[in-house]
């Protein structure tokens, strides 16, 4: 299995993917965190959905990770795209047959791929967190935000929780991408279905039938990243997400194991 992970990591660190991911994640992290601090007194708000967060709120221990938490959902979408394309491209490029000749255990290929992408996602989340925190400190003076509480043990604890929650949420989105990649066997289709569903269709469904939000996968993945909310509890989101991903993974794994590799 370790050989599969090493081989997958070699593919994941190719410059086009690595630099593209660094640019995307870095750009998103910098953008969202900068908006929070640079538009602190703006009438159009400085947080998600036009909300405003004041300097005194940002001066609390939680202010350290405020910007990073806003990036969380988008890291999930980035992971969905990467996991989906890395999985489905093996079919479209025809490279799956090479992999299976060198490692005939299809489950080992799948598990190795998943572990390698998990590591990639972890690095991505840590990079986004580090950049967001650095920018928060850098812009705190200009926004007149007191950072004394950001260096407290409580802030450290909140940072760890945020990184963990966003990492879990990112993995959930990534796993969904991998499942779609295995089912659809085309990177474009898998990414299109995944992104459309999470960014558009779930929002339309939630708006039309309010009660559905609690049971939709993307909503629950995002809720894990936020550490739960007053509407949907953290535990509920964990349970619903686990249910979706276990069923989806089982179906995808069975198909991957049994399907002929004819391309």
């Amino acid at each position: 299995m370790i050989r599969v992970v090493i081989a997958e990591l070699r593919k994941l660190r190719r410059p086009s993917l690595l630099l593209g991911t660094i640019a995307t994640v870095g750009g998103l992290s910098a953008l969202f965190t900068s908006i929070v601090f640079l538009m602190i007194n703006s009438e159009s708000g400085n947080s998600s959905r036009g909300e405003s967060v004041s300097a005194s709120e940002l001066s609390q221990a939680a202010g350290l990770v405020y910007g990073f938490n806003l990036v969380g959902m988008f890291l999930g979408i980035v992971a969905l795209c990467i996991f989906a394309s890395q999985t489905a491209q093996e079919y479209t490029l025809g490279t799956l047959r090479n992999l299976l000749v060198r490692q005939p255990s299809r489950m080992k290929i799948l598990a190795g791929k998943f572990i390698a992408m998990k590591l990639f996602a972890l690095v991505m989340v840590i990079f986004a967190a580090a950049l967001s925190i650095a920018i928060s400190f850098l812009l705190s003076g200009r926004a007149q935000v007191d950072t004394s509480k950001w260096q407290s043990p409580e802030a450290g604890q909140l940072l760890l929780e945020s990184v963990l929650n966003i990492f879990i949420a990112t993995l959930c989105f990534g796993t969904l991408g991998m499942i779609l990649g295995l089912l659809l066997r085309s990177p474009i289709s898998a990414i299109a279905v995944g992104v459309l569903w999470n960014l558009i269709l779930e929002n339309i469904l939630s708006a039309l039938i309010n009660s559905t939000g609690k049971w939709l996968p993307g909503t629950n993945f995002s809720n894990i990243g936020m550490g739960g909310s007053s509407v949907i509890s953290y535990r509920h989101s964990l349970a619903v997400s686990a249910g979706y991903l276990l069923v989806g993974s089982a179906v995808a794994a069975i198909l991957f194991k049994r399907r002929d590799v004819a391309n």
Binding site: R3, R10, L93, L99, V101, R102, P104, D260, A262
Partner: protein, 302 residues
């Protein structure tokens, strides 16, 4: 006892209502070059994919290096394969692509540069795969197949897209491997290409095995052809008519009469021409080529 590298018994693969391979039975002896021939769509790639565990047979069985194809993990580490053209990651270099497969198979990374040199890609190993010409891609595919230092090498159409020099290089690689004891099972739809390198042949047509055995055995089973060229082309019809009357079958091809007859019939044909007052500018005996034999066996007209 003859050692066998591959056996297939009634191997069948059905897609919908079409049999890609129907009750295919054949053997490939160990240590030989065995050509796997047949027109496009005759079932060659399907058979190779079944032998490599990539697709499961609808019925029948096969063994590779003594192990059932139901357990490819038992024999694949000893096999090198290139199936249906080279498939690699376009954004990775040739060297990185080989390293991915070397790591996956647990082979030493030092093999990568050795093999790049062997297939004449040492100076382009660092270039991205997407910048390679078709011939270079094909050579990289062969390098990948050689990674495990295989006991059995399975190559599916390895010379597709290669120029004559590239084809010659692949032939040399195959011969070198066979000389060192590697079994090579190589498919092609270009029959003349395999005739030159294969000691054994498996012939497929429309999903059915129509011959499996020694190449020489197949070629000698077909009658040789006596080729007579009259001095003047106007005499072709008269000469053909006379030979037909004697009982040999004839065909006129580019100013010559091709007569299906044993080599000893040359003198008789020469005499017939003389009796008709026809001077032959040449008369020779030729063994039918693999391609001619194939068409003879299948009843197809080229």
């Amino acid at each position: 006892m003859k050692k066998i590298a591959i056996t297939a018994t009634d191997l069948t693969k059905i897609y919908g209502d079409r049999a890609a391979l129907s009750h295919g039975s054949f053997e490939v002896p160990a240590g030989a070059v065995c050509g796997f021939v047949g027109p496009n769509g005759s079932g060659k790639t399907t058979t190779i994919r079944m032998l490599l565990g990539l697709i499961s047979p609808s019925s029948g069985s096969a063994t590779v290096l003594g192990e059932s194809i139901a357990h490819p993990e038992r024999y694949l580490p000893k096999i090198g394969a290139m199936i249906e053209g080279p498939a690699f990651y376009p954004a990775l270099s040739g060297r990185e692509n080989l390293k991915v497969l070397a790591e996956l198979g647990g082979f030493p990374l030092s093999r990568v540069d050795e093999l790049l040199a062997k297939v004449d890609l040492a100076d382009r190993g660092g270039s991205k795969f997407k910048t390679y010409s078709l011939g270079m891609k094909q050579r990289l595919g062969i390098a990948a197949a050689l990674l495990p230092n295989p006991e059995l090498l399975i190559l599916d159409e390895p010379t597709n897209g290669l120029d004559p020099q590239g084809i010659q290089e692949i032939r040399n690689i195959i011969r070198d491997l066979a000389d060192s004891g590697t079994t090579v099972f190589v498919s092609s739809h270009i029959l003349s290409e395999l005739e030159m390198i294969s000691e054994y042949l498996v012939m497929l047509r429309e999903g059915k095995v129509i011959f499996s055995g020694r190449t020489q055995e197949l070629l000698t089973s077909n009658k040789p052809v006596v080729i007579a060229r009259p001095e003047y082309e106007v005499d072709l019809a008269k000469l053909t008519k006379k030979i037909d009357e004697v009982g040999y079958s004839t065909k006129v091809i580019e100013g010559t009469v091709h007569i299906s007859a044993p080599a000893e019939a040359s003198a008789e044909i020469n005499r017939l021409a003389f009796d008709l007052g026809i001077t032959l500018s040449s008369i020779s005996v030729a063994q039918p080529t693999l391609e001619e034999t194939f068409f003879e066996m299948t009843g197809d007209i080229k």
